[in-house]
């Protein structure tokens, strides 16, 4: 294995596992019989027909294995640079994809048969997309130690908490898309509920990570806890959109398509904050 190949061996295997997971999910989504069982299997439903052989759902182990490999690679890179490896764009994408896979895994296990297969599929595709982006020339893969401003544990907290919060926003985004595309009232109600709970969990984590830890890091590094830097401002705008979503939902009782559109808008802002600002606007966060 050459040096360049060894740099991306684990992420490549993780990518393959997640692609496999997405492909298997797509196959099952296209079948009429979607009875997949997480471990352990639940009792069969009384259908009057003889019980069919239940299949074991490969999605959770594939998601978990993909996440584990990505985190293992980040651990390997961390040992090499003697710092938590989340300071580069490649490493950030790996971490984000790993957290999305973990969130989907936990959701699948907790929801069991009540899980919404299109949401799982969409979330898996999002993780695959991030890894594809990581493999592109936009994300340098060399293992390089961080420059002085990035050598802060506040930065590590800032990045990791932000991505954990945003992983829940991915779930909310996919659920909102499926909601707008769906027709069954019962299923749409569950999707609406899933969007709401995912944002309800992701929002505080994102707030603490992006805004609170970010402000503390900026104060320690530059002596200014807020600078109206483009990345800061876009993180604030993203936060305002989700704040608007939660307030509209909690106080005004907004549900349905408008609520779903707001959730989608929030995720579009999240994506621009993550990638658009880095490549289109310059500022304190212009690290590649």
């Amino acid at each position: 294995v050459s040096v360049s190949n060894s740099l991306i061996l684990l992420p490549t295997v993780a990518f393959a596992l997640l692609v496999l997971s997405a492909a298997l999910q797509a196959v099952f989504l296209l079948r009429r019989d979607r009875t997949l069982e997480p471990v352990p299997a639940s009792p069969p439903r009384p259908t009057g027909r003889p019980p069919r052989e239940r299949r074991l759902d490969p999605t959770p182990p594939l998601l978990l294995a993909g996440a584990a490999l990505l985190l293992a690679d980040l651990a390997r890179r961390s040992v090499q640079i003697r710092f938590v490896a989340v300071t580069g764009i490649f490493e950030s994408l790996l971490f984000f994809a790993a957290v999305i896979a973990l969130v989907l895994f936990v959701y699948r296990l907790r929801a069991g048969q009540r899980s919404l297969p299109f949401v799982l599929f969409g979330g898996t595709v999002a993780a695959v997309f991030l890894l594809a982006l990581a493999s592109s020339p936009l994300a340098p893969k060399e293992v390089v130690p961080p420059i002085p401003a990035l050598q802060s544990h506040w930065l590590v907290l800032h990045v990791t908490f932000s991505f954990i919060g945003e992983a829940f926003f991915v779930v909310a985004f996919v659920a909102s898309i499926v909601y707008l595309a769906g027709r069954s009232p019962e299923r749409r109600q569950r999707l609406d509920r899933l969007t709401y709970t995912a944002i309800g969990i992701g929002y505080p984590i994102f707030t603490v990570g992006a805004l609170v830890f970010g402000a503390v890091w900026a104060e320690v590094a530059w002596g200014s806890w807020w600078s109206w830097d483009p990345k800061e401002t876009w993180a604030l705008v993203t936060w305002l959109v989700y704040t608007g979503y939660l307030h509209a939902r909690l106080v005004r009782g907004w549900r349905g398509p408008v609520s779903a559109v707001l959730s989608i808008a929030g995720f579009v802002f999240t994506l621009f904050t993550l990638f658009g600002v880095n490549y289109l606007l310059s500022g304190l966060h212009s690290y590649r």
Binding site: G200, P204, V208, V212, S224, P230, L240
Partner: protein, 341 residues
């Protein structure tokens, strides 16, 4: 009626939308540049629009500050109303959002204190130089160190300083003037030694000193005929016999890591007549020009330290802790709700 409108969720949503959209748009326009930048880089209509509506300094303009103030009033009234209602009803749960609202109000207050009371300046010091900080403490550089990775990228900038606190510095100054040289007066405490580096600022009373930059400057030794020698660094000027000025711009030549004398190279000067740049002059080491002679050149390191006093930051920290606690409570409740579905 007015109060009801001011604390309404409709107003909150409109203001949140306005602040989100305008803040996002403001990031597309470079902030804080001179007027000439906008007139030179944008069309006449657009540049007039930017300058008329203060979009070049949007976050300090009335178009941002007034809606932000209205949002603060909305948040305060809404939080007070919500909290009073819960206390009246004797409700024990769901205090998370209230704490978040209070935290945000405190954060806005901290931001206002920072905006009005923040003081900062950047100082550049070579090794062995001292400066008196606001408040009277004296900071003296002991050692400057620049570390880099094998690939040449910066690894760390370190400035080791000794800090003499204000009282000791005053006593030392008085002793130096012979007014407090009494055997009964105890010797002032030894200076505190600290290494400042990026992400590791020094605290001196209410001040914080940050490592902000590191430079190696080419210092020219210049001899004026009949008037001795002087040392200049880039940015310094030399008067010429014709009434103009020569501004030392840069040096092109050897650049050793050590502080040895440089043997070869060319100094680049800009010629200025009044506020007009008249041309450029390139002078080799040892050469004569305009009544001067370039005697030599030596590189030396200068550390850039950013001194900040921000009375709003403690409030901000308290606000962030309160908001984080409130958000944690909200999450716990949300997870429980999800479990019960």
């Amino acid at each position: 009626m007015v109060i009801k409108f001011l604390r309404s969720i409709q107003l909150a949503l409109v203001l949140i939308g306005y602040l989100a959209v305008t803040s996002a748009l403001a990031t597309l326009i470079p902030q804080g540049r001179e007027s000439a930048y906008y007139t030179g880089n944008y069309s006449a209509v657009l540049s007039r629009l930017i300058l008329t509506f203060d979009l070049n300094d949007f976050f300090r303009s009335a178009f941002f500050l007034l809606p932000a103030a209205l949002f603060t009033a909305n948040l305060a009234l809404c939080a007070a109303h919500r909290l009073a209602g819960r206390l009246r009803a004797g409700a024990r749960r769901r205090f998370g959002p209230d704490l978040v609202h209070l935290g945000l109000l405190l954060l806005i207050a901290g931001g206002a204190v920072t905006l009005l009371g923040r003081e900062e300046r950047t100082i550049y010091l070579p090794e062995g130089y001292a400066v008196t900080l606001p408040g009277g403490s004296v900071l003296k550089t002991r050692a400057l160190e620049y570390q880099e990775y094998p690939d040449g990228r910066p690894k760390d900038w370190l400035t080791t300083v000794e800090v003499t606190d204000a009282a000791a510095a005053a006593a030392a100054a008085a002793a130096g003037q012979g007014r407090a040289a009494s055997p009964q007066v105890p010797a002032p405490p030894a200076p505190r030694v600290f290494t400042i580096e990026v992400n590791r600022p020094l605290r001196v009373g209410r001040l914080k000193v940050y490592q902000s930059s590191f430079h190696r400057l080419p210092a020219l030794t210049v001899e004026r005929e009949g008037a001795g020698t002087s040392t200049i660094i880039p940015g310094h000027t030399l008067p010429t016999s014709g009434g103009g000025q020569l501004r030392y711009f840069s040096f092109e030549g050897d650049s050793p890591d050590t502080q040895e004398e440089v043997a070869r190279g060319v100094a680049v000067f800009e010629e200025w007549r009044g506020s007009t740049r008249a041309g450029q002059k390139r002078v080799a080491l040892g050469a004569r020009f305009e009544g001067y002679r370039l005697v030599g050149l030596k590189y030396f390191s200068v550390t850039g330290l950013h001194v900040v006093r921000d009375p709003g930051f403690p409030l901000v920290i308290a606000a962030l802790l309160l908001a984080a606690f409130g958000l944690s409570l909200s999450v716990i409740q949300k997870v429980r709700e999800e479990d019960n579905v």
